[in-house]
């Protein structure tokens, strides 16, 4: 594998990647140029996304909005999304492990139910959830919101993790158990480290599902100081008109932590490649 790829091959690979990078960032450049435009986009800019009358005004409007509690709300978003990722992974990992390794009564039905939950379109699902959280006395608390977000991402997390557990050779745990480890120890010490990349990806998905959601957050929370950023951003879209400039600026600010997180998770992915104890 240490053979160097030929020049031609490198050129092809980079061309393909650059083409898709262009596809990926072109629409975002429009959002960026909108965010930096003082008076909205100019219709004469044609194919090139160039800001019209460039300024940082929109960013100032976003960060100064709602009485200077923008940073508090950013904090809320971070807390809620990180907690969602942690809770979802903690709930999903053992279940996914059991589904990958054990044979038990109700396994097929359980898998079927998990898949089924993803098939149900969520039209107007806010009201039943509201009733449930009211019954659990978790209304208007970030903990309740985290619980809702985490559970809705658990089914996917289980699928994702189960798939990755299945690619880890059973021999690894068996070897550990021969050496005197219990099943739980084998799971925690052998399987989990090997599955680290998949866990990182799963956590990222759970984080993302919480990070951009606003309908449930606005419905379940009733204090401005508890709101997450998407709720605050959505306030720039009114019934008759929308302040697209500040909205775009806010969307950019909101995506920065996600990119940072992906950058960090990526190290985990590479770490999984080199350090995963799969070689045995």
């Amino acid at each position: 594998m240490d053979k160097k790829p030929s020049l031609l091959e490198s050129v092809i690979v980079h061309t393909v990647l650059l083409t898709f990078v262009a596809f990926a960032i072109y629409p975002i450049l429009w959002v960026v140029s909108l965010a930096f435009s003082r008076g909205g986009l100019s219709s004469s800019s044609g194919a090139l996304p160039v800001p019209h009358d460039p300024s940082f005004d929109n960013f100032r409007i976003v960060t100064a909005g709602s009485g200077g509690i923008f940073w508090l709300q950013l904090g809320n978003s971070l807390i809620v999304s990180l907690a969602t990722a942690v809770v979802a992974v903690v709930i999903a990992t053992p279940a996914a492990y059991a589904l990958a390794r054990f044979d038990f009564v109700g396994k097929k039905a359980g898998m079927g139910t998990l898949l089924a939950t993803q098939m149900f379109p969520t039209v107007a699902s806010a009201v039943p959830l509201y009733l449930l959280l009211e019954a659990l006395h978790l209304l208007d608390s970030r903990a309740g919101l985290v619980l809702v977000y985490a559970t809705t991402s658990v089914p996917f997390a289980i699928f994702q993790l189960r798939g990755s557990f299945e690619t880890i050779p059973v021999e690894l745990e068996e070897a550990a158990m021969v050496d005197g480890a219990t099943r739980t120890q084998a799971f925690l010490r052998v399987v989990l480290p090997a599955a680290r990349p998949a866990i990182a990806v799963t956590a990222l998905f759970a984080f993302m599902s919480a990070w951009n959601e606003f309908i449930l957050a606005a419905t379940l929370l009733s204090r401005e100081t508890a709101f997450t950023l998407p709720v605050v951003l959505q306030r720039f879209v009114g019934e008759h008109d929308a302040a697209w400039g500040p909205f775009a600026a806010g969307a950019m600010l909101v995506s920065i932590p996600v990119m940072a997180l992906f950058y960090l998770a990526q190290r985990q992915l590479i770490g999984g490649l080199t350090a995963g104890g799969v070689k045995g």
């Binding site: 690979v13 990647l17 898709f20 990078v21 990926a24 909108l34 909205g40 986009l41 100019s42 219709s43 004469s44 044609g46 709602s66 907690a83 053992p94 279940a95 054990f102 044979d103 038990f104 009564v105 898949l115 089924a116 098939m119 149900f120 379109p121 039209v123 107007a124 806010a126 009201v127 509201y130 449930l132 009211e134 970030r142 619980l147 809702v148 809705t152 658990v154 699928f159 189960r162 798939g163 690619t167 998949a198 990806v201 993302m208 606003f214 309908i215 606005a218 204090r223 401005e224 709720v231 306030r235 879209v237 008109d241 302040a243 909205f247 775009a248 995506s255 992906f262 590479i270 995963g276």
Partner: protein, 731 residues
């Protein structure tokens, strides 16, 4: 391992932060007010509330909500007494709020002796069958913004206003959202037409309605107005001096200030109809009392205060509101504001928007008729007749109360089937042994099973049950299976007719197949390329390629929609530099569908790419090395070694990706919006329309959801059957 400790500490800190939300003690009476105001209106409201708090010695807790979540929030919170005491909203939603008992009569917040101090039209708007619900605050209607740099004085008539008079290409005498029903209404009214009458019938399909659309077609033909006008385009044209005049509401004032000078006038006269004026719909913002709030004297006092003269003056001067309190218009400071006075004059010519829930079901059919006529797909008459049919269909009353027997039979058959399957399993040899052997596994799955059951499965079951009911939440009526029967028989129309379940299903299947093909194809390709060990700039590529997924899709989907604009979109600009003719993307099914696909492929490929990268990292390096030693070509290595190893990790994502795409409502709704004529709608966007734009038929929408669920179950079963032999060979 120190990282593990850091993570543990972080978790504990998070838990503390989650629960540590203290409320300061305060013994003053507390009131809760919710609103969706923004900008100047919000600033003025805060000032008014501060004054009220001082005067009355109470605390008002204000919550500003996004408009898109406002109705949902009111609907969930108020019936359980967690809602506000007072909330601000437009009067046209009174009808549906009354159906759901979200609003109570104003009582002494608006005593009889106060009535004379409000504008009559505003009072009328707040009154439903003789009872007043809410104190009128402000009136909103469309008016004419004229660019003083390009035009002098008030235009004498709409026809005079719409003359091109040798304007250069790309400039227009007039710009407004001509294809929206709300903006077309003034023309409809000027020709003597109406949208919905007092009994809730759709009455736009008349010669007057036809004349109003024919008039619009003439404007288009004379290039008096731009193509595919939307709010952003109108704003841009006016700000850059490319539109001499614009029709818009008070919300446009902030944008108008960016132009080189403007004046506001009431909508002009229409000469063709004998000096009749264009009359816009008038909406009135009300301070409404929730049933809880109506019991609270402080809340009633707050509603009264909000409509009172001192509040109205602040709202007019600071909030730039066209207040409904008469006395304010004699104030010298208010009189000085020419914009406000012009909007006040415009409001006086307005027609209060009907509060009947039928109004909600009329917007989309009328809009579809206008667009169809503009595209030239139908004459105004045919398009309007069709609109009336669609309206009547949406408003069809629920069927008479059927006997519960058929539903009972179906449900008991399902239960018996499940029980028999369970018994069959239990009878199998060695069942009790297997059961006992399962106990260790249950320790791993129990907590996941419980939370998923409570927070995911239960709400879904509740949703399924609503599908056996019709009508609104408060006034639900048991209809058995008839929602399902109606859907499956295409409501009595042709099975593959417009908007029928079966036609929409075909579109949805096509949508899913094309999207998943591109998601998986691009995702695999990029995932494999990014996993090359010696690739340079790997980290940069990875971060750039997940951008579509990182930026909130609400804003990027709208950016895509803008890129597909016929006149000003980037895609047509690129096409024209390549020498191709501009495409009118949303006027044909094929191109509108392609636009949706492009957006959704863009949004979805990073997901498959990340999943592929994750799966590939788990492929043992030595396996690949061994394959290389064996002399396998790259393609063979990929197909025979890599694919079988990553497939188990990829397969669930592909299945789930298909399911999510099948139910991907955002893109369809935000990009094509179902255009042309609802043809690009998929099943889930149809379901959404039944719930939110067609008379709040939640039961019908729920039946759609259950059918979608059934179809996906069936589809995944088929996929499993087809994939079964392969899986058998693997193990």
């Amino acid at each position: 391992m120190s990282r593990v400790r850091t993570i543990c500490l972080a978790v504990i800190a998070l838990a503390l932060a989650l629960f540590g939300a203290g409320c300061g003690g305060n013994d003053k009476p507390r009131l809760v007010l919710w609103h969706a105001y923004r900008g100047d209106e919000e600033i003025a409201l805060k000032q008014v509330l501060a004054a009220f708090e001082k005067e009355r010695d109470v605390t008002v807790e204000v919550l500003a909500l996004p408009f898109d979540a406002y109705a949902t929030k009111l609907e969930s919170a108020i019936p359980h007494a967690h809602g506000p005491d007072v909330f601000l909203d437009a009067h046209e939603r009174l009808g549906s709020y009354l159906q759901n008992t979200l609003v109570a009569p104003s009582g002494d917040a608006l005593p009889p002796e106060d009535r004379a101090s409000f504008d009559t039209a505003a009072l009328d708007a707040a009154t439903v069958s003789g009872t007043t619900y809410g104190v009128p605050l402000a009136q909103k209607s469309l008016a004419l913004f004229v660019s003083t740099a390009l035009m002098t004085g008030e235009p004498t008539s709409f026809e005079a206003l719409a003359k091109r008079d040798g304007l250069p290409d790309g400039s227009f005498p007039l710009a407004y959202e001509a294809e929206s029903a709300y903006f077309h209404a003034p023309l409809l009214h000027a020709f003597g037409g109406r949208m919905v009458d007092a009994e809730g019938h759709f009455v736009a399909a008349t010669p007057e309605g036809e004349a109003s659309i024919a008039f619009l077609l003439e404007l288009k033909k004379a290039r008096a107005i731009p193509d595919e006008p939307n709010g952003a385009l109108v704003t841009e044209l006016f700000a850059s001096g490319k539109a001499k005049a614009v029709i818009s509401g008070p919300w446009f004032l902030a944008d108008a200030k960016k132009s080189k000078g403007y004046r506001v006038f009431p909508l002009p006269k229409l000469r063709e109809t004998g000096e009749a004026r264009l009359r816009a719909f008038l909406t009135v913002d009300l301070a409404m009392l929730s049933p809880e709030g109506a019991k609270n004297p402080n809340a009633r006092a707050l509603a009264k205060y909000l409509g009172g003269p001192s509040s109205a003056k602040t709202r007019a001067l600071v909030g730039k509101q066209v207040v409904a309190t008469k006395a304010v218009w004699d104030d010298a400071d208010v009189k000085k504001d020419a914009d406000l006075s012009a909007f006040h004059a415009a409001a006086e010519t307005g027609i209060p928007m009907p509060t009947t829930p039928a109004m909600r079901a009329a917007w989309v059919p009328l809009e579809q008729a206008i667009k169809k006529s503009v595209r030239g797909d139908a004459t105004p008459k045919a398009a309007l007749d069709e609109a009336r049919e669609r309206f009547v269909d949406a408003m069809k009353p629920p069927p008479p109360r059927p006997s519960p027997t058929p539903l009972f039979v179906v449900l008991s058959m399902v239960l018996v089937g499940l029980a028999m399957a369970a018994v069959k399993n239990a009878r199998e040899p060695g069942f009790s042994g297997r059961w006992r052997a399962s106990i260790p596994a249950y320790k791993y799955v129990a907590h996941a099973a419980i939370v998923v059951f409570v927070l995911v499965v239960l709400p879904l079951v509740a949703g399924t049950l609503t599908s056996f009911f019709a009508g609104t939440r408060n006034d639900a009526q048991y209809v058995g299976l008839s929602n399902y029967i109606e859907i499956l028989t295409a409501r009595g129309g042709p099975l593959l007719g417009h908007g029928s379940f079966w036609l929409t299903l075909l579109v949805t299947v096509l949508w899913t197949v094309v999207n998943v093909f591109f998601h998986v194809g691009i995702g695999l390709l990029l995932g494999v390329l990014l996993s090359r060990p010696l690739l340079r700039l790997k980290a940069v590529y990875r971060v750039l390629l997940i951008l579509p997924w990182a930026v909130p899709s609400y804003v990027t989907a709208l950016a895509w929609k803008g890129m597909f604009h016929r006149q000003y979109g980037a895609i047509n600009a690129i096409l024209s530099t390549l020498g191709a003719a501009p495409v009118s993307w949303f006027s044909k099914f094929s191109t509108a569908f392609a636009a949706n696909i492009a957006t959704n492929v863009w949004l979805g490929f990073p997901f498959m790419m990340v999943v592929t990268v994750g799966a590939l990292t788990a492929v043992p390096k030595d396996v690949l090395e061994a394959a290389e030693v064996d002399g396998a070509t790259r393609w063979q290595r990929f197909r025979l070694v890599v694919m079988p190893l990553v497939a188990p990790a990829l397969l669930p994502s592909v299945v789930l990706g298909s399911v999510w795409t099948f139910n991907m409502f955002n893109v369809v709704f935000l990009v094509s919006g179902g255009e042309p004529d609802g043809q690009t709608d998929i099943l889930v966007s149809e379901a959404y329309r039944w719930a939110f734009t067609r008379n709040a038929q939640y039961g019908y929408a729920a039946a759609y959801a259950v059918l979608i669920f059934g179809l996906l179950m069936l589809g995944s079963r088929l996929m499993q059957r087809l994939g079964a032999p392969k899986e058998g060979a693997k193990t």
